[in-house]
Structures are given as structure tokens and as C-alpha cells.
Subunit: 146 residues, 2 copies
């Protein structure tokens, strides 16, 4: 996928990431050691009602699904940032996450020759199509060599 | 820190997270396997000019600094989301990251009794005060028991 392969209005659906209790706790131990990500019993009394993944972990799992969805040959050059990241629902162990994408804008970079910016709106959903996270992401892609 | 401990205009500076090459590669292997996070040589030819941390990894390191900065007794209840996350500069191994925070808004939740929302603007800087990431974050905090 290079810049020219993206067009406004394109949609995509991909990914099947199984959220496991061991990975939730491993990520939280390193990066987000709050009780509702670490302690099954105590998490029941939290706002989330049970042990759930760190929001940053959900972001990381989303990223992994993005990468796995790219073909071996691609022009992805990284991202300058994201907007309106919403953690809408707790992500519990046992969920199978997938991604719904919509291309909202495509434009050539003014400062980087041969590079374009693709803006996407994403929803991360569970196996019952419940949206657990949403965000708008920008990503740089190389143009095809002409 | 409970809801009442936060006031608009309060600033804070905390954290000293050393970015290591092994951790950059470990995170990227799991969640963001792009060559500029994994391959020292190939990364030199990327937009980033060298091996650098996944943006989601920088977010996770920021989260860890936030948690380590909370006192043992605190009222943090998690976050509904973030806005305007910008990955401004590559985060290279060897950087020591820290966080600068500014409280921008405090208000009681309408739907959750005894809970308040604190809005913060954050900059993540390296040891030379170069801002590598910025974001606006919302977080729920419990009110003090009266």
C-alpha cells in the first residue's frame, strides 16, 4: 500500500487479536500498574467492573493489527499523531478485537517530497461488534516510484 | 491525589524513564514491528534517521511515569480518552524521558456521583528538554470522602 492506493471513503475491516489475561497483566505490570489492570478481585469494585486492559495496551494491540494488515511491500513511514482517542468500553480478557477503518483525507506532504498523508478514522470492536476504542489517525505513506 | 487536589493552572514535572534499545525492540516486536523500530541499520534510511521507539511505546512509558508519580493512596479511576496526541520527534535509545503537566480543567462528573474529571496538557521531553510527544488527557478521580 502506497499513498496512491488510498482514496477518501475507502473502508476496511481486519484483525482478530485475542485479549488474554496474562498479556493484560504483563503489559500493565510494565506500563500501567493500576489495580483494575492487575488484580482480578479488586477490579470488580472499579468503574470497569472487572480486570481489563490498559488503554495504552489496547492502542498497542490496534497497532499490531494495523501492521499485520499491511502487505509485505508497503510504503508506511510512520505517524505524526492521533486525535480524539476514546476509550469507550473496558477491554476484558477473552475479547477478540478487530479494526474498522475509513479513509477520511489524502494529501501530498508540502515539506516531504514523494510523501503523502493519509487520515483514517478507526473503530476497534470486539467479537460482538461493540466499539471499545475509536480514534483518528494520520500516517505518512511513500508515493509509488514513477 | 483526589479530585479536590487538582486546580486549573497547576503544573508538575516528574519522571526519568531511560529508553533502552532492548526495550524499544521488545515492544516493537510485539506491537509495532516496523523496520525503523527493529533494525538499526535500515532505520538510518527512514524518516527518523535511526532506530526509535514506537509511538505507542512512548505513550506506554508516559503512562508508567504518570502512575509512578501518584502517591500510594490516590483516587485515580482511569481515563475516557486523549486528544491531540502528537509524536513530534523520534525517541531514540539513550533518551531519558520526563513529563511536564498542566491542569487545564476540573469538573465534577454529571453521571458518576463522587467522581470528577481532570483535564491535563502534557509534554514528554528528553534530557535536553526537547519535546518528543504532547497530548491532552482526561482522567477520572474520586472525590475525597466527606
Amino acid at each position: 500500500m502506497y499513498f496512491e492506493d488510498y482514496q477518501v471513503g475507502q473502508t476496511s475491516k481486519f484483525g482478530a487479536y485475542e485479549v488474554t489475561e496474562s498479556e493484560v497483566k504483563e503489559f500493565a505490570t510494565k506500563y500501567d500498574p493500576q489495580f483494575f489492570h492487575l488484580d482480578d478481585e479488586a477490579a470488580k469494585d472499579s468503574l470497569f467492573g472487572g480486570l481489563c486492559a490498559s488503554g495504552w495496551h489496547t492502542g498497542a494491540m490496534f497497532m499490531r493489527m494495523l501492521i499485520d494488515n499491511l502487505p509485505a511491500e508497503h510504503g508506511s513511514l510512520g505517524s505524526p499523531g492521533i486525535n480524539n482517542l476514546k476509550w469507550l468500553k473496558p477491554v476484558y480478557p477473552g475479547y477478540i478485537l478487530s479494526v474498522k477503518g475509513l479513509v477520511t483525507e489524502c494529501r501530498l506532504s508540502k515539506s516531504k517530497p514523494g510523501v503523502g498523508l493519509v487520515c483514517m478514522s478507526y473503530e476497534i470492536v470486539n467479537q460482538d461488534d461493540l466499539t471499545v476504542m475509536s480514534l483518528e489517525s494520520n500516517a505518512f505513506f511513500r508515493c509509488k516510484k514513477s
